[in-house]
Amino acid sequence: MNIKMKSIMKKYSIYTMIVTALVLVFASCVKDLDTVPLDPDEVTSATVYENPDSYYQVLAKLYAIYAVSGQQGPAGMPDISGIDEGFSNYLRQYWMAQELTTDEAVIAWNDGNISDFHDMDWTATNEFVTAMYNRIYYQVSLSNEFIRESSDAKLDERGFTGATKTAIQQYRNEARFLRALSYYHALDMFGSVPFVTEDDEVGAFFPEQISRADLFTYVETELIAVETGLADARTNEYARADKATAWMVLAKLYLNAEVYIGSPKYDEAVTYTGKVITAGYSLQDNYATNFLADNHLSNEIIFPIAYDGIHTKTWGGATFLIHAAVGGNMSAADYGIDGGWGGTRTTSALVKKFLPDASKSYFVNTKSTAVYPLIYVPGGHQGWAPDAVDCPTLASVNSDDNYEGYVNFPDAGNEFKINATPSWDENYGDNEPDNVLDQNGANLTAVDAGYYKINVNMATKAYTFEATHWGIIGDASPSGWGADTDMIYNPTTDEWTAEIYLTANEMKFRANDDWPINLGDSDMDGILEYGGGNIPVPEDGNYVVTLKLGSGDYTYTLTPEAVDSRAMFHKDGQTLEITNIGEFTEGWAIAKYKNLTSAGDAGSDLAFPDTDFPMYRLADAYLMYAEAVLRGGNGSAGLALDYVNLLITRAYGNDKNEIGSTDLTLDLILDERARELYWEGHRRTDLIRFGKFTTADYVWPWKGNVANGAAVDAKFNVFPIPSTDIGSNPNLDQNTGY
């Protein structure tokens, strides 16, 4: 130790040295606390954007938010929490909110408050409403972060130039589009909501609530602002947004403007649907191919949410859409999956939109205007009430003493009487029995249940009755003149019906597979005569044939059953009407989405479909254009009609069902939207626009949790702001009524 050191030792006491040394050592230990993630899969925000590839990957995340539920497929690293990850998926939530609330879908399950959707009694604590809302803001928040990090200033700061910079600028426009899309969902579903943009840094603050009208303006402005910065229609990479996607959202915004801001924007709706329609998309020849595992090949889909069995796995999205719709006796293999979940079906309200149009029938059931003398057949089949409206009658078409009619006795041993008037004043039975009526005689009895032809001569009091079952015979029918095609009796309508393929030949009706009782139409007036002439069938095709007997004129209809190829129902083992929503087999199943290619091969994975979800299709643009014109938008009525007829022609495979300009009404548009776009996530918005979502104007089975359907409070036209957000943000006011 040299002199100098010694002097230092003197100058500073040993205490100071020790304290200094201690401070140094502790400081080094304390420095250990400054850790950074060791895992290369986790990067800090400070460094992530140094690599331009990160922008592309974050952009992929922004799109993937709609498709999957987190960073691990099908589940494991969720984006949002507080709800089962599979359920939390954006598309699954969106689909449920838009479809389960309407006539198009019900779900059998018991998950949480899922039944609130179809019951239409959701509250601010409903976890699915909450999840939808959280998904929207997940998209908004992540887009904000991306937009913040891709500002021109940041790009310059990070030294990006040339093509790299240009590409990132386009990503930024796509991010702004995606944010606008989700804000559009917020606008549509929640109305007035909290508002955050890229100017709001991540942190603890309370966002202000924006009015529905201001949000409308914001979304509109954003979409118009980014439009030029997006790729031209149909030029971007598959599944990425382009100009046409933005036009489509703008068109939706304008078409619904009366709902959103109380003033119409139909001119704008016409403009933007027009841009989409002329952008080069074309209808697929086969409607069904839009919903199959290889639907990425469809030239009709404007914006898909893309799925892949290997690379894009989720329990929501297409996995849910296809699995949940398969149950009952449906074969999973027919849908390219490993097994159904037995959840979603439809109500009869949708099915009935596909039923044959009675206005196109041949030979409408029109009875003649003649008034015939009647006698009455009260009994156990109707409650022994001769004065009741439903009391069957026998008519004397020639106004003589001969009365005839057909009466259905549903139960064996059914007793009845013949009354001369709709009272008990003059009633007849048969005491012996000897086929001769006795006044005030013993009850008559139908030994077997059945549909009886009854003849009474009121002069002689002789009577006959004979059970009948009816069929169609003739060279127009598949069995020719040799055998009958049986018809089915419907006690509700008191009609016999058959769905049958008929050729352009002749046919007759006959009872009990024999000729003694047969009906034809000699004068082709729609009223049948015993032994009448053969009925000529006008053209080949499927027909619904009905035969209406009862008393008086016997009539029939031949309604060409045009096959709408969009009616993809699975009926086998399913009832049409629903008495218990929890039973999958009640309500017809929907066979629209499949994990099969158009060649019939299963997708790449039986559990996770390849099928992309068509968020926007050309067909939607056609119907929107037509509706906007009908509602007064400045467009071509002719084009509007043409567009609708394009869809109808594709649906039927021919132009025979095309409509005329007078047929093109708003009601038709709404029904056509159901037929064309059911289960594609549009229905709730459509019903609200048509004023039919909550009102008594239109009800469907189990609307408002009532079997026949009932109106509900108008507050349900928007969802409530979830209580979780009301609880954490004091700036928010709840939507009216909640």
């Binding site: 960073q71 018991n110 966002p207 979780t724 954490s728």
Partner: protein
Amino acid sequence: MGQIYSKLKVAILLLIFAGITTVTFAQLVNVTGTVVDATDGSPLPGVTVLQKGTTNGTTTNMDGNYSLSVDRDQTLVFSFVGYSNQEILVSSTQINVQMVEKAELLSEFVVIGYGIQKKSDATGSVTAIGDEDFNKGMITSPQALLSGKVSGVQISGDGTPGGGSTIRIRGGSSLSASNDPLIVVDGIPLDNDGVSGSANSLNAVNPNDIESMTVLKDASATAIFGSRASNGVIIITTKKGKVGDALKVSYSGKGSFYTIPNQVDVLSGTKFRALVSGQYADNSNATDLLGGSYTNWQNEVLKPAYGQDHYLVASGAIKNLPFRVSVGYTDQDGILTTSSFERKTGAIALNPTFFDKHLKINVNAKVMREANRFASNGAISSAMLFDPTQSVLSGDQIYNGYTTWLQTDGSGLPITIATSNPLAMLNLREDISEADRKIGNIQLDYKFHFLPELRFNINAAGDYSSSNGTIFVPATAASDLTNEGVNNVYDQEKKNELLDAYLNYNTDIDAIDANIDFMAGYSWQHFWRSGTSLNRNQSLLEYSDYETESYLVSFFGRLKYSQSDKYLATFTLRQDGSSRFSPDNRWGLFPSAALAWKLGEEGFIEDLGIFSDLKLRLGYGITGQQNISGDYPYLARYTYGQDNAAYQFGDSFINTLRPEGYDKNLKWEETTTYNIGLDYGLFEDRIVGSVEYYLRETADLINYISVPAGTNLTNRVLTNIGSLENKGFEFSILGRPIVSDDLYWEVGANVAFNKNKITKLTATDDPNYIGEHTGGISGGVGNTIQIHTVGQSASSFFVYEQVYDDAGKPIEGLYVDRNEDGVITGDDRYHNESPAPKALFGFNSSLTYKNWDFSFAGRASIGNYVYNNVDSENGTLGNIYNSVGYLSNVVENALYTRFQSKQYFSDYYIQDASFLRMDHMTLGYQLNDVINNTADIHLSVTVQNAFVLTNYEGLDPEVFGGIDYNIYPRPRTILFGVKIDF
């Protein structure tokens, strides 16, 4: 370990620091002498020599010498920590004393954080349980030793072989963060995360090696552990050899037989057949599915099992080197078929002393290797649900021969949503793991030669574990046909390192009849872990790995002051720095203060002649909680997505990159505890015990909570919002009604009441905010049955109020419209009970008569409610037939309620699960001096889980968390034990 060495520098500097501190006292000389250790004659420095009844005293120097001016005919009292006091009449000027080490160290002393303390001087709520008092039986986990022994400590073990237990001390102080207590083994605070592939994080400690377990309950005792102490601390001390002991070898062996106490009452094959035939008389699709067998599936999956445990220990001293070496072997099969546990442990403890006992060195090393086969608990519910008319095997080769529900389309494919064959689930799934763990530490305790009142203690420790496991299911198994089987491999490596050092200065200040004990120290801990996982199924390889670490740096100090041995005060302060929080929030200060008044030493109490001990304690302290998932919750991070969550752009699939939600201001939660306690001893300590009342308020709860929409990068982030409180009362009593040479009887009981209430949950205090849903149930997807709500107990059940008919039967789907709005919606749910018991009782007794001994211990829990998810999920008639083509059995309850569809949220299923469980009863016999007088043998027979008294209708009322589903049944164990001491 490398980092530890660098930290040694700190210790050396502390030594230097210590050298400059001196304290001296004026002395007079009259009586002189030397005080030595009675066993080895080594001088004892620092022994207190006191003239009895005065404050006149001194301490021995480094050579054990003392001198004291004292009058003749007075008595000198010699006292020293760890030795028995000696009183000697002054009859000469030379008094040499041999001090005798206390045999029953534990009865007088308790281990506290960074030191030991005379139990009578404890100011906090500290309960020590020695090995004599541990629970008996086939106990593989250290936690189980304590069950029912300490008031306010709830220990709930599971039935799995080698499985762990959940410990709650005075209820939970956290909502989202961990509620597990800090466990300190031989001075090493463990991390709470456990080892993957190991069912219990404490398996590395063989219960046979444990000398004592000390439970620190209130903050005045735990605050010295700072940010990890909010849920109490359990200090485990292992056994050591002693200087002067002859070599002792001891063997103990146990053989155990596990039986199944009871089964879930599902329908028998006969009843099920009748039910299906009746319900679906006109649906042949359903009745055609019925099989021709009568299978009790629970009998098939739950089988009696056997276990064995061997333990060999040698201890003694080689000259001045006391040692203890032990090896253990445990092999246990689970009653759920295929589950098993095998463990080998080794432990070595060396505790030599040097320099006339001035330097004590403690070396502990523990090694463990365990092998597990885990059985899928899902097989338990499948065994309840699988159609009892089916046979186990189908008779076909397909699906490995196991009966499987097949799709009705003739494809031969299994129905994916149908119940899996429980035996296929067990036998075809090979879920095995191996874990190795080594825990070691070196502790140096140096008493300064020139100042024996000053002690320096340094402890360097390492805890290393590595584990790996595989899960294999063949591609032919019906359950994993779509995946083409399961073939997963995972491994994990963990390194936790510790260095701590402290100085302790302890002296009497005779002038004022006081004692001061001051301690200051420093601690550094590093937690590191990494792991990989590889899923190989289909043509796809899914590989993932992680590596993460955290550090904890702390400074702490404690001042204990004792006045006249009657008035005691303790103050502690700890400053913790954690790498899990941002530099701005990294440091937390945790103070505590405690006062105690030894009333028993006061004349007016002594005069009563009843109390042998009476002490009033008051404590206050703040502790922290930082045990949260993730090591970087405050950092803004981005995470790469996996290959199967990629998104298609064009023809490529792009791996996504996601920003994570975070709270940059995250910090630990703080719990403030107020404690008042009274320790009492009556009739010469024939009856001892304590009474305590406490209030714990946790603020800044670390909670996954909804943030205002749009403000963060996910909907819920880990942040500090909310507060809750626990209030409680505890009482314990231990009596020794009979103490004689032949007969000794001890009986103990304790009771604890705790009330938990959430007092704040959101930033806005919105009174309409219903709360955060929690408690996911089986059935449906994402259904929850519990909720955290302000003003209610945490995890209260949140349900509809069931309406009953006149006969008291629940009416399906009919609930009380509590908000009277005419419809039943989610808003009609209400807060029912909570799973936390309102009162916990523990009781135990041991009786020794000559060579016989008999002991038992049990627990009771009152007011704990359980959601009977077994009945709610499997108790409906509408689900026995699924039109996809399979049948499901139901519980008997379905025949009572006749519910058609599931009523998950009915309060009918919230059931009182109060219970009394006899944990063990043991009868033993001691044979002394056998085998040519070389050995003592103790034989015992034990029944564990002997019986349970409860009104609960489910399988077992003890359901941690309160949702009863898929519970691994706790076996009833009959065990034969032998212990041979050579």
